[in-house]
Amino acid sequence: MDNKQSNQDLFSDSIEEESKISDRREFFRKTAALGVTALAGTSLFASQDDPAIMHHAPWGQKWGDPVTKNLYGMPSAYEHNVVRRYTQLLASGNYRASIAVTPIQESTGIITPNGLFFSRSHGGTAHVDPKEFRLMIHGLVEKPIVLTLEQLKRYPKVTRTHFIECPANGGQEWRGPQFNSLQFAKGFMSSAEWTGVYIKTILADLGLKPEAKWMLSEGSDNSEMGRTVPIDKVLDDAMIVWGQNGEALRPEQGYPARLLLPGWEGNLCVKWLKRIEFAAEPWYCKEETSKYTALKPSGKAIQHFYANEVNSTVVSPSPEIPWTDLQDGQRVEIEGLAWSGMGTITGVDLSFDGGKNYVEAKLKGLVLPKSWTRWSYMHTYKKGEVLLLTSRAMDDAGYIQPTVDEETSVMGVESVYHRNGVETWEVTATGEVNHVQIRS
């Protein structure tokens, strides 16, 4: 019996293929070399004047673009490498049941620009005509309703900052590290400021019947994507959103309206929303049975695994942001992200030896519920030092990230989803950074 699953099967982690990493290595070596060259220009001991200072810059001696150009602004052409990326491993459905992940190594703050927000669909990105958008809410309500987009937007608005995370973030690495890249190891998530309406606000007039326990949300896309949501969440902070970082949702994010269940699996936040129905029993949609269920060693799988648990990563340094240009004795910030779908980040600990000993890092910026949170630790770099950087976050529900061993002792290595064991970067003697795991 051949039990090997197709390595194309989205989010299966059966990756055995031989592959070469040398191109990437080569690339970062060159990047580092460039970095050192560039540094010479600004070094305290510069032996020659920097042409970037001594000469007029070409853009300073001619007309720039008129304001009539780029009426919707674009990033600088020099930023062309800051893009979502994809891999053949996750090419399911001819890249229509697939994912392109966010370059979180390039992210600043706690907001992802809309063009870089990770993109995941089950039947391709739908392009919905807003004039033909309808949202139907029916089932166990006294008064079913159908809304146009304009009518939906008439409801009182709330604006919240929340990450959305695919629960398969890191899910390829239950049996060991696979991606020598922060973008691919942790980039199945992004964060935005969302604007929309609480579903409980709409329900206030529809008269939810007491026997209503579950809500079906269904998309209008090619896959008719559906998920079942328990009433608890509907009446707490569930939203229907149309605004993302101050503009309309992007098509990849469900334009013109999607569900937002703060902190919960991205897959539950159904895009291209079309229909909401309330019932006394749950539905068993495809993406809550065949996928998005976490198989345990007992042979039983967790279904309705809602919240993305507390998690964190070191962003700088990371495989994409090595320390190859650092000089002995330089002070450098170790910076990272922490997030929890179950509450607010209360603290992050940082280890330099892969989790043997920890020190407390500092949180910084806004610390919001179910949101990315930035953390920081100041370090004095010793040339040639070898480090195992491990971060460990905690939230106000009391959750703390488990070690890889602690998590796999309960979940085994086949669950695909909801991996939140601590992540470790190895900083080599030359300042390169490798993804490793510490396990027994």
């Binding site: 059966s14 020099y78 967790i302 648990e309």
Partner: protein
């Protein structure tokens, strides 16, 4: 009107009642939530923190509580026909499942015509598309305890027959989402036929009868399907106790591999590691097929990357999955011999075969292309294979 308002008020207070019972502190008519500190330990269904709306705030956010009081009259009531047109979900108890029938044999025909190009012979799976069957479902269900903790170990098989808890999901998904390039195009009878075929290749029995090649599936028989893994999921989400089951499940971190400082976990700061812990590295170079290749260089994009043959783009988007390698049995891009045989028939025949579909290839490969665009891709593929 007064009656309606009253009804709405009652309904609204029921909403509040449900909301409060959710957090376990409904005290008969007292709608003022207790202070947030009382909610800070597993008050929500997911085991997380509840941030009540109180005194114009929820968590760190200000909120206008007047906005939550209802009284809106946006939208309209949908007609019965409109609801019927969209309310087509299918539940395990048969709600929504229409009458109809289809045989395994008919299903095999539809499968060969519309499904095999992606899902492979007998549901074996293909380039980027899931496997639908790998043998006897009852036998394979036992593999769900498999853990690939050693390099050569067999993993669990999560195909339809072995893993999914209810067959209703299959019927619903085929009708609404398949074929992937042309969803919602199958008749109900075709969906029954395809369901029968998939049950056949998963070696099912229904009500003691083997789903063999002559089997004809209909609604009554469909509702008798017992999936081998129906009890394979936790927490239990059906029945009157469902929500309490789920709430209780996520109250205990141990159920889902969590660690909670309020449930006995310790925030260890020194000497936290087992002696046996070692550094595990990426094996065999890991996954390095990352596109576009990783780069953090800030320069101007290369000229050549900007100019792309439009036909190449169409090829990448629509044809590559089957024509990039031999796994799908299609002529491989760049294979002079294979394409020589194809073009020997004459270009008009090549166009016609491609547009109408040939062997496992559906019409235009299932792509939504104009004839002109389709021919341009064919030309591109032929020219790239000389």
């Amino acid at each position: 009107m007064f009656k309606l308002d009253r009804k709405l008020i009652i309904s609204a207070s029921l909403v509040t009642a449900v909301a409060l019972s959710v957090v376990g502190c409904f005290q008969g008519g007292d709608v003022t939530p207790p202070p947030s500190s009382e909610f800070n330990n597993h008050a929500t269904i997911d085991g997380g923190v509840y941030y009540p709306v109180k005194d114009g705030r929820t968590g760190p956010y200000r909120i206008n509580e007047d906005t939550l009081k209802g009284g809106f009259s946006h939208g309209r009531t949908p007609t019965a026909n409109e609801i019927a047109a969209w309310d087509k979900d299918i539940m395990p108890d048969g709600t929504g499942l229409p009458e109809g029938s289809g045989s395994v044999e008919e299903g095999a025909e539809v499968y060969e015509a519309q499904c095999v190009s992606c899902h492979g012979d007998f549901g074996s799976g293909g380039a980027g598309y899931p496997s639908l069957a790998q043998g006897n479902a009852v036998t394979l269900q036992k593999t769900l305890k498999n853990q690939r903790v050693k390099p050569d170990a067999d993993g669990p098989v999560r195909v339809f027959g072995a893993y999914w808890p209810y067959a209703s999901t299959l019927w619903w998904y085929i009708r609404d989402a398949m074929p992937h390039t042309k969803s919602k195009s199958l008749t109900d009878n075709q969906v029954y036929a395809l369901s029968a075929y998939i049950l056949n290749i998963n070696e099912f029995e229904i009500d003691g009868e083997k789903v063999d090649d002559d089997y004809v599936l209909d609604r009554a028989k469909f509702l008798k399907i017992k999936m081998p893994n129906v009890d394979g999921f936790e927490p239990i989400i059906n029945g009157p106790q469902a929500l309490d089951n789920v709430r209780n499940y996520y109250k205990d971190a141990k159920n889902f591999g969590g660690l909670n400082l309020k449930q006995g976990a310790v925030r260890c700061m020194t000497n936290c590691q087992k002696e046996t812990a070692v550094v595990t590295r990426i094996q065999n170079g890991g996954i390095s097929d990352l596109n576009p290749p990783l780069s953090s260089v800030r320069d101007l994009p290369a000229e050549k990357a900007v100019v792309l043959d439009p036909a190449q783009t169409l090829y990448e988007e629509n044809c590559k999955v089957c024509h990039a390698d031999s796994s799908m049995g299609a002529p491989v891009m760049g294979d002079k011999v294979a394409w020589g045989k194809v073009t020997a028939k004459g270009i008009d025949k090549v166009y016609a075969n491609g547009m109408n579909g040939i062997n496992a290839m559906p019409a235009k490969g299932g792509a939504n292309l104009s004839d002109k665009d389709f021919k341009s891709v064919v030309d591109y593929m032929i020219n790239s294979s000389k």
